[in-house]
Subunit: 273 residues, 2 copies
């Protein structure tokens, strides 16, 4: 465990430069020697899958993950079936782009019944396993901060994600640790250790005070209260040595030039992660 | 466990009518047959403690709790000492107003070291026990939603509150369950049962989608996704049959006439709690 992680591991999660197209993001990574990129599906769909693949291959970039699958709960069996089909398309896109991780944002309950929604999440992931295995894609359950429990994910803690991952017992299911979502958790370090062998991704940003917005809430590393280095060392101690995605959803950062963002995220990564 | 809780248990948490003085809130409770009130210290300080006591006594109102003590973590021992002294004043005020519960909002970390802050919270509560016992005041640890972990409370789950309460083993320490803060927790019902015998308060509001604000975030019961009746029945099954505080921090509700708020909160209480 070094004091500073290698820049060979830094990845631009594409939402951090939301105002850039995929082409601009790929070119930005080349200009700034960022070797990894995490691609969002809405950016793929803007230009199509084959053009997306060609852009990334020609640039020689590595794809750390595709964001995002999930969104399993829905009020009717037919709608839940449609969600599964959409996840299969996401798995195909992930395979086509040459990554091995699909990040799952599991979805909110369609009504007040959070227990049923959690059951549907687990059933949905289980149903996807054979298709994921065929395509060589691992499903990364990303717990989201409890402030998103009503509208984005009923999976709110790393403990929940670990429990699902353990129950499903598959090499194609694991967890994604995003510091913004889990930093507050009193069981965090125990759950990171429990996730040993199944950590599929590590995402960094920061929690600034006051939070600028509920959704567009994340700060640049070093601007907030999260013990970034401690968490990075903990996931390494639990065996994760893969790419480290910088994933920042923030209007002020979106509105600055993307080159400024990439320069800053590399500096802060070296200094704080 | 009845389908509807008795209106004998409803309490106006005074923050729900933040634009009312204590005198206006007391008069409002009388007009609307609300038998309990939870008093905030900044409202007491506006008119003084003895006038506050007289208002409440003359009205024949019961005081369900005083909000709030806590805020234990601070960078220096001297500042932590001052916080303890302020909590002692809060205990004296609670005793003077004839309640037996002081609600603790435990406070954020002064820096990135959340573990130390959590330790200071527990040490602070422990230090207050003899003073609380002398005054007949119980200290209610209220876990706050993890979205407030950086600026209001490093105690984010009922599990944490229960652990502190169990460690301290005192009749003068317990927990307060506020639906807004804990509804998302996958361990919620297990932790409510674990809190048997030490639940000192139950607060209701709702989680609306989208949330109107980060701090002024709470909705009127029935407007959101929280399984209010299920939670009320769970705290009753765990032995709590005391007052039920309506605690809503929300600009739109603050800006409507207080009489409208009290009328609405009684209707929603009957319908949804």
């Amino acid at each position: 465990m070094s004091g500073t992680p290698s820049l060979d591991r830094i990845s631009l999660n594409q939402i951090t430069t939301e105002h850039w197209s995929l082409e601009e993001a790929v070119e930005g990574c080349l200009r700034h020697d960022v070797p990894w990129i995490s691609v969002w599906r809405h950016k793929i769909h803007e230009i199509g899958l084959s053009k997306s693949r060609k852009l990334i291959q020609d640039a020689g970039l590595n794809v750390s993950s595709i964001c995002r699958g999930g969104m399993f709960p829905a009020p009717t069996p037919e709608e839940r079936r449609e969600r599964i089909e959409d996840n299969k398309r996401a798995i195909e896109e992930a395979a086509e782009l040459g990554t091995d991780v699909l990040v799952l944002v599991c979805g909110p309950a369609p009504d007040k019944d959070i227990d049923s929604a959690r059951k549907w999440v687990e059933e949905g992931i289980e149903e996807l396993i054979p298709f994921a295995r065929e395509h060589g894609i691992k499903l990364g359950i990303e717990p989201l901060h409890p402030m998103y429990a009503a509208d984005r994910s009923v999976i709110s803690t790393l403990g929940q994600a670990n429990t699902i991952s353990e129950r499903l017992q598959s090499d194609y299911v694991g967890v994604v640790v995003d510091v913004f979502h889990v930093w507050w958790d009193p069981d965090l370090y125990r759950e990171i250790e429990r996730a040993r062998g199944s950590i599929l991704g590590f995402h960094v940003s920061d929690w600034v005070v006051p939070l600028p917005d509920i959704f567009k809430a994340r700060g640049m590393m070093g601007d907030g209260v999260i013990e970034l280095r401690r968490m990075r060392q903990a996931v390494e101690a639990a065996g994760y040595h893969g790419p480290i995605e910088v994933e920042i959803i923030n209007d002020a950062i979106w509105n600055q030039p993307g080159d400024e963002t990439l320069k800053q995220m590399k500096e802060r990564y070296v200094e704080h992660v």
